[in-house]
C-alpha cells in the first residue's frame, strides 16, 4: 500500500513578535486525509502557527503545500484557515449562502460575479456539512455549531486540501462536538486534511488519529497514546498542571 501524498510540510518554522519568540524551529509534515489535533497551553503558539501557515503573519523557515513552496499568496489557495469564533464578527450582515460562496472567490477575477457552477458548488458544500436548508439564513441566526459548519462549508467551497481550525469546538455542546468530529472524519476520508487546535485533551485522545503537542516548539508528535503520555504532557503544559487539563 502506498503512503498518501504529503499535503503540508513545515520545516524550521519560527515566528517572532518583536523580541518575543512565539514559535521556534517547528518542523512536521501531514499526509492527505490525516485528522490531527494540535494541543498546547494558552500562549503555546497554536494560533500563531496556523496564522503563519496561512501566510497571515511573517515567519522564517519553509512551508510547503501540496509540493509547492509557499512564497506568494497564490501558493496558499489550497489552504483554508478558520479562526477562533472570538476573532469573527458573527453579527455581520451576511447570509450562509454568501459566506459559503465567498470560498469560491479564488476561482473568480476582480469584479466577476459567481455564476451557476459556483452556486452549485456552494450548495454542495452546504449539503456536505449538513446545512442544506440554511443557505438563506443570516449568519447571526445560527447556533455555535451551525456557524462552525458554515465556515467549514466555505473551506470546502474553496476546494481546500488543508483546513486549519482554530478552537473550532469551543462553545459547542457535546452532541454538537460529536457531530462535528463525525463530519471531520468523513471529510478526511474523502481526502481533506485537517489540523484542529483544541484544549480538550480527552477529546484529542478519543477522536483523533494524531496529536501534535506544541509549546513554542514541537514537544511531541504521534498517535494520541504517544503524544499524550505523562512525560509529553508535562513537557507541554508544565509540571503537574497538565493533570487538571486532562481532568
Amino acid at each position: 500500500m502506498t503512503m498518501p501524498e504529503v499535503v503540508l510540510r513545515v520545516d524550521d518554522l519560527s515566528v517572532a513578535y518583536g523580541r518575543h519568540r512565539a514559535l521556534e524551529h517547528v518542523s512536521f509534515s501531514v499526509r492527505r486525509g490525516e485528522l490531527a489535533a494540535v494541543i498546547g497551553p494558552n500562549g503555546a503558539g497554536k494560533s500563531t502557527m496556523f496564522r503563519a501557515l496561512s501566510g497571515i503573519v511573517k515567519y522564517s523557515g519553509n512551508v510547503e503545500l501540496c509540493g509547492v513552496h509557499c512564497h506568494h499568496r497564490r501558493d496558499r489557495l489550497v489552504c483554508a484557515y478558520i479562526p477562533q469564533r472570538t476573532d469573527i464578527d458573527l453579527d455581520f450582515p451576511i447570509t450562509v449562502d454568501q459566506l459559503v460562496l465567498s470560498g469560491r472567490r479564488r476561482f473568480l477575477r476582480l469584479g466577476q460575479r459567481p455564476g451557476s457552477s459556483h452556486r452549485a458548488a456552494a450548495r454542495d458544500a452546504l449539503a456536505r456539512v449538513g446545512l442544506p436548508d440554511l443557505g438563506a439564513r443570516p449568519l447571526t441566526q445560527l447556533s455555535g455549531g451551525q456557524a462552525q459548519r458554515a465556515f467549514l462549508a466555505r473551506a470546502l467551497a474553496q476546494e481546500a486540501d488543508l483546513i486549519l481550525l482554530d478552537e473550532a469546538l469551543s462553545g459547542v455542546d457535546q452532541p454538537g462536538v460529536d457531530g462535528m468530529l463525525d463530519l471531520f472524519g468523513q471529510l478526511c476520508e474523502d481526502g481533506t486534511t485537517m489540523l484542529v487546535a483544541t484544549h480538550d485533551l480527552a477529546l484529542a485522545r478519543r477522536r483523533f488519529t494524531r496529536c501534535i503537542a506544541i509549546n513554542r516548539q514541537v514537544i511531541a508528535d504521534g498517535t494520541p497514546a504517544e503524544a499524550l503520555d505523562d512525560r509529553a504532557l508535562e513537557a507541554t503544559f508544565g509540571s503537574g498542571s497538565f493533570r487538571s487539563v486532562v481532568a
Partner: protein, 293 residues
C-alpha cells in the same frame, strides 16, 4: 393639495432645484460608502477625515487651486498617514487617527490664518451652502458620485469579504490592502461631495447616520445599502424642504433629519427585537411542553 404644494413650492426656482439635485447626490453616495465605514467600525476615521480635509480646502484656496482636488488630496493623505502610523504595534488605530486628525485640522486652521480673505468662503465649506450650488458644482459632484458608485459596485463582494474576514479574503487572493485604499478614496470623495451640502463638519452625519440606521433593520449588506440610500435621499430632500419652510440652515437641518430616521430605526429594532424575544420564549415553552420534560 396643500401638502403637495408644501413639498413642491420650494423647488420653483432653479437654485433650489440645483440644491435638491446636489442633496440627492450626497444622499445616495454618502450612505453607500457609509455602509462600509459602519461595518468596519471606522466612524471615527470618517469623522476625522471630514475635519482633516480642511487643510486641503484651505491650501487650495491659498494657491488658487481646485477645492475638489485639494480636499481629495488631503483625504487620501490622511488615510495613508493613519495606515503608516498603525504599522507601529504600540499605536492603536484610534490613536493614529487622533494624531493625524489633529495635525491636519491644525494645519488647516494655520493656513486659514495666513489669508484673511479665505475665512468667509471657508464658512461655506464648514457648514455647507447648498443653495448656492451651481450647475458646475452639480456636474463635478455628479461625476465624482458616478465614479464612487462604480467603484463600490465593482468591488462590492471584495469589500464585503475583506470587511467580514480579512484573513480569509487574503487567503483566497483578494488584495486586502488595495481594497482598504479604495475605501479611503471613497470616503475622501464622499467628503468632497458633501462639502457643498451639509459641509465638512456635518458630512459625517450623512456618512454614518443613514448606514447606522439601516444596520439596525437589515440582515444583508445589499439590503442595508438600499435602505441606507433610501434614508439618505429622504433626509437630503426632506431636510432641504424643511429648511425652506422653517428658514433654518439646510446643512444642519438635513443632519437633524438623518438622526430622526436613526431614532425611528432604533425604535423599530427595539420593538422587533422584543417581539422576537417573546416569540422565542413561546417557542421554547412549546418545545419544553412537547418534550414533556
Amino acid at each position: 393639495m396643500a401638502a403637495l404644494s408644501w413639498v413642491t413650492d420650494p423647488y420653483q426656482s432653479e437654485f433650489m432645484r440645483n440644491a435638491a439635485m446636489v442633496a440627492v447626490l450626497v444622499g445616495v453616495l454618502a450612505p453607500t460608502v457609509g455602509v462600509w465605514v459602519v461595518l468596519r467600525r471606522l466612524a471615527y476615521l470618517g469623522d476625522a477625515m471630514s475635519h482633516g480635509t480642511l487643510a486641503g480646502v484651505a491650501g487650495a484656496f491659498l494657491i488658487g487651486a481646485s477645492i475638489t482636488v485639494g480636499a481629495l488630496a488631503a483625504g487620501v493623505t490622511m488615510g495613508l498617514l493613519v495606515a503608516v502610523l498603525e504599522r507601529q504595534r504600540r499605536v492603536s488605530e484610534d490613536s493614529a487617527i487622533g494624531v493625524v486628525e489633529t495635525f491636519m485640522f491644525a494645519l488647516g486652521v494655520i493656513l486659514v490664518s495666513r489669508n484673511d480673505n479665505v475665512g468667509v468662503d471657508l464658512t461655506h465649506f464648514l457648514f455647507g451652502q447648498i443653495v448656492t450650488a451651481t450647475r458646475h458644482d452639480l456636474a463635478v459632484n455628479g461625476l465624482l458620485t458616478l465614479v464612487a458608485l462604480l467603484l463600490v459596485f465593482v468591488a462590492f463582494h471584495d469589500l464585503r469579504m475583506t470587511t467580514f474576514d480579512a484573513a480569509h479574503a487574503a487567503q483566497v487572493g483578494i488584495p486586502v490592502g488595495a481594497i482598504g485604499t479604495v475605501l479611503i478614496v471613497l470616503i475622501s470623495i464622499t467628503v468632497v461631495v458633501s462639502l457643498s451640502t451639509v459641509g465638512l463638519l456635518m458630512s459625517v452625519a450623512m456618512l454614518i447616520t443613514p448606514a447606522a440606521a439601516a444596520r439596525l433593520v437589515t440582515h444583508q449588506v445589499a439590503t442595508m445599502t438600499a435602505v441606507a440610500i433610501g434614508i439618505g435621499g429622504a433626509s437630503a430632500l426632506g431636510g432641504l424642504t424643511l429648511s425652506y419652510h422653517l428658514s433654518t440652515p439646510p446643512g444642519p437641518t438635513i443632519a437633524v433629519v438623518t438622526v430622526g430616521w436613526f431614532a425611528l430605526a432604533a425604535g423599530w429594532s427595539a420593538i422587533a427585537g422584543r417581539s422576537a424575544g417573546i416569540a422565542g420564549r413561546h417557542h421554547v415553552g412549546r418545545a419544553v411542553a412537547a418534550s414533556d420534560v
